[in-house]
């Protein structure tokens, strides 16, 4: 017995035949993983339409939502699939995406979390917001326009935050007669970008989001293309979240101290394992204090476990009654992180007011919040050429390399070594505004002098 939708009268304006909705994921799915991906590219490249098409062709749009699209169908035109993601009034008025929308769908293979990021240059910071949590980036290019500056900018930002899997989605193939030559030229142009940025993996797919060619189903319009459809590829690409080769890192979020009759002396440290694996019984060091003790027990869901790994949220108990508070790190004695008051970092500057050297602000490094000063602006990356040029300030959406000095030592790794402990945000103390995304490039002042053209800086 199925859950009854509202009677037909509720949807009597709906023109879609029911047969369209073949149900292909009826069985229970419990053992599957999650792939988080972002769509990027310029305004009008069709990102929202592509996501709409992906949801629509994979039968992930419910009838009532389709019905609202039907209502907005202009005359006899096609349904505007972009309206599935552009949820704000201003977005629908202007036909552009202003802020990140999150959409969800599931196939028998995985749960997908889609981040639909704005393409407009003005909203680049929202694109970085989406990219910071993604495993894969779909870079859309309009087949008529080819590779443009926004393609370069978004690819750079996605590569900067460490995305390893890229899809070059050459969209609107229907508008160039599905010509292979057009596709090949764009792929060749993009290869230059991929080479400069050392992108680990790029898969190029010709498609039409509007017509549905090659998004979920292969297209007869593209006989010369033998690769996977977009959804095929998304279902098969490995979810990197599971690969966790890093050294063990854990930061205290909250101290649990019930102080009840039954548990008068219980004291434990709640937090999320940021990377690696922890084992009960191993020796650990508390940072920044440097005190050593033994990891007495690991609790997960109120039960002791022998070991736990990232990204589990756990509770740690220590053998000795040492002073540990929110923001402190608990790490094994081998391969400790740096403890430093001097950092070099790449910033994506997200505030309308420019950043100048000497500015004091707060670094929020997960649970640790410390005062800091930007001592030097080293250089700025030209997003069109990827060259680093001299700069003495950072404007909105600029990518700059800076040096920072902190009021208290920070427990940190470089972003290349560890995406969890190498990332931070800059916050304005007075207003609380988030000013920048920060990626640590060096924790040792001796490494600060690295040559500016070091290409590895973009390749995480």
């Amino acid at each position: 017995m199925g859950l009854s939708p509202a009677p037909a009268s509720f949807f009597n304006f709906l023109k879609y035949p029911f047969s369209h909705f073949h149900i292909f994921h009826i069985q229970r799915i419990t053992k599957m993983d999650i792939l988080r991906f972002i769509t990027c590219g310029s305004v009008d490249d069709g990102k929202s339409t592509l996501i709409g098409r992906l949801l629509y062709d994979s039968d992930s749009v419910s009838l009532d939502v389709l019905a609202t699209l039907e209502k907005r169908r202009a005359g006899s035109g096609d349904v505007d699939l972009a309206l599935l993601t552009d949820g704000l009034k201003a977005e629908r008025e202007q036909g552009i995406t202003i802020d990140v929308a999150h959409k969800y769908f599931t196939t028998p293979r995985r749960k997908f979390i889609i981040t639909d990021a704005p393409g407009h240059v003005q909203y680049t910071r929202n694109m970085v917001t989406g990219a910071s949590n993604a495993d894969l980036a779909i870079v859309l290019v309009d087949a008529r326009q080819g590779v443009i500056e926004q393609t370069r900018r978004h690819t750079l930002l996605a590569s900067l935050v460490g995305i390893r899997h890229f899809v070059l989605a050459v969209n609107k193939m229907d508008l160039v007669g599905y010509e292979e030559r057009v596709f090949r030229q764009i792929v060749a142009d993009y290869q230059l970008i991929a080479g400069r940025l050392h992108l680990p993996e790029v898969v190029a797919i010709p498609l039409s989001a509007l017509q549905g060619d090659n998004v979920v189903r292969p297209s007869r319009h593209l006989p010369w293309y033998t690769g996977p459809s977009l959804l095929d590829h998304l279902e098969r690409v490995p979810a990197e979240a599971d690969a966790n080769p890093h050294e063990p890192r854990f930061q205290v979020q909250y101290v649990i101290r019930p102080q009840t009759e039954e548990l008068p002396d219980y004291r434990a440290y709640a937090g999320r394992i940021q990377s690696g694996r922890y084992r009960a019984g191993e020796r650990v060091r508390i940072l920044p204090s440097g005190l050593e003790t033994v990891l007495e027990a690991i609790e997960l869901n109120q039960q002791e476990v022998a070991s736990a790994e990232a990204p589990q949220s756990v509770v740690l108990r220590l053998r000795d009654d040492v002073d540990v508070s929110r923001g402190d790190s608990i790490v094994p004695l081998s391969a400790p992180p740096a403890l430093t008051r001097e950092l070099e970092a790449t910033l994506c500057w997200m505030d309308e007011r420019p950043l100048k050297a000497g500015r004091k602000l707060l670094i929020q490094h997960h649970a640790a919040v410390v005062k800091a000063a930007v001592t030097t602006i080293v250089d700025r990356t030209n997003v069109a050429t990827f060259e680093r040029v001299a700069a003495d300030e950072a404007q909105l959406n600029d990518i700059v390399r800076v040096r920072l000095r902190t009021a208290r030592p920070l427990v940190a790794d470089t972003y290349r070594d560890n995406r969890a402990t190498g990332a931070f945000i800059l916050v304005e103390e007075q207003t609380g505004a988030t000013l920048a995304a920060g990626l640590i490039t060096a924790t040792d002042p001796e490494a600060f002098a690295a040559p500016a053209e070091n290409p590895l800086a973009f390749s995480i």
């Binding site: 929308a101 995985r110 709640a270 999320r272 707060l362």
Partner: protein
């Protein structure tokens, strides 16, 4: 790790950030499945300690009685503090106008009670069980959503939210709405309820109920709060509730599902979204939710 383990670990991390960053947080508890799942997540985040926040229920006066009983029982079982504030009191104290019509929803009025209770206790963070899959305006909201002193949401001025670093720094009078299960879908919540063997109010399972047939064809559970007339058709149907807002604005769905397994099977076959099937208030205008959120609604 299974995908549910991942969602769970993320939600626990977010709850602990609230505990670590704020002085006076609260968990907004409606008695529905999402906020019930949140209490389980809070147990996992803070036991053997107490929750670092009270459960706060905004009682519109149009709730289903089953939900209120369940609410009190759950708070007692958990041994956690429950604060209840009534929309009826707000209406009296502020001289607000009771909504009229056949289905007089107090849904919009609860924003006043919510903002009052935030001010009364100085709550600086309010945790809620909203999910991004519910509605298009919710899909746009951050996990930490900063609200001004009037509770207003301004989608154009949202803070960037990078990695899993949550910035809850606010100025006096502002507060943050926190949504730990933003990335869960309706099906994820049900899968979690099943895995964790979480008890739910009986209203979620199939039962015989007197219902009013709405012009849309939706079924509204019969209650004293509806202003019906002779033209209304009353039927008795086997129904369950997919979501439990007020009795005046939440429709039931016909269903024979008596177990969580049955419900999950129902959902896998459902062609209508949760809100589409059940909510009357979202259909008032295309931007109903966005407009209410801008005004301080959860």
């Amino acid at each position: 790790m299974d995908y549910l383990d991942r969602l769970e670990a993320e939600a626990i991390h977010i709850l602990r950030e609230v505990a670590g960053q704020f002085e006076r947080p609260a968990l907004l508890f409606s008695g529905g499945k999402d906020s019930i799942a949140l209490t389980r997540l809070a147990e996992k985040a803070f036991r053997p300690g107490k929750f670092p926040f009270p459960l706060v229920h905004i009682d519109t006066g149009h709730n289903f009685p089953e939900i209120l009983d369940f609410r009190d029982e759950l708070a007692a079982t958990l041994g956690e503090k429950l604060l209840v504030r009534k929309v009826a009191d707000t209406i009296r104290e502020r001289g607000l106008r009771e909504p009229g019509g056949k289905y007089p929803s107090r849904n919009a009025l609860q924003t006043y009670t919510l903002l009052d209770v935030i001010e009364e206790f100085g709550f600086d963070a309010c945790i809620g069980g909203a999910r991004r899959d519910e509605e298009k305006a919710r899909a746009k909201e951050r996990i930490f959503s900063v609200r001004d002193e009037f509770g207003q949401w301004d989608p154009r001025r949202q803070r960037p939210e990078l990695w899993n670093i949550y910035n809850g720094r606010i100025q006096k009078g502002e507060n943050v709405r926190v949504f730990p299960i933003s990335n869960w879908t309706e099906l994820d919540v049900w899968n979690y309820i099943q895995r964790e063997n979480i008890s739910l109010p009986a209203i979620y399972f199939s039962h015989e109920r007197e219902c009013v047939v709405l012009p849309s064809g939706q079924l509204l559970g019969l209650s004293e709060h509806l202003n019906l007339d002779d033209t209304d058709e009353i039927v008795s149907r086997r129904v369950r509730f997919r979501t439990v807002g007020d009795s005046t604005c939440t429709a039931a769905v016909e269903s024979d599902a008596v177990t969580i397994d049955d419900i999950i099977q129902d959902l896998l076959l459902a062609k209508v979204s949760e809100r589409g099937a059940t909510r009357l208030d979202d259909n008032l205008s295309e931007t109903g939710m966005e407009d209410r959120k801008r005004n301080g609604y959860f």
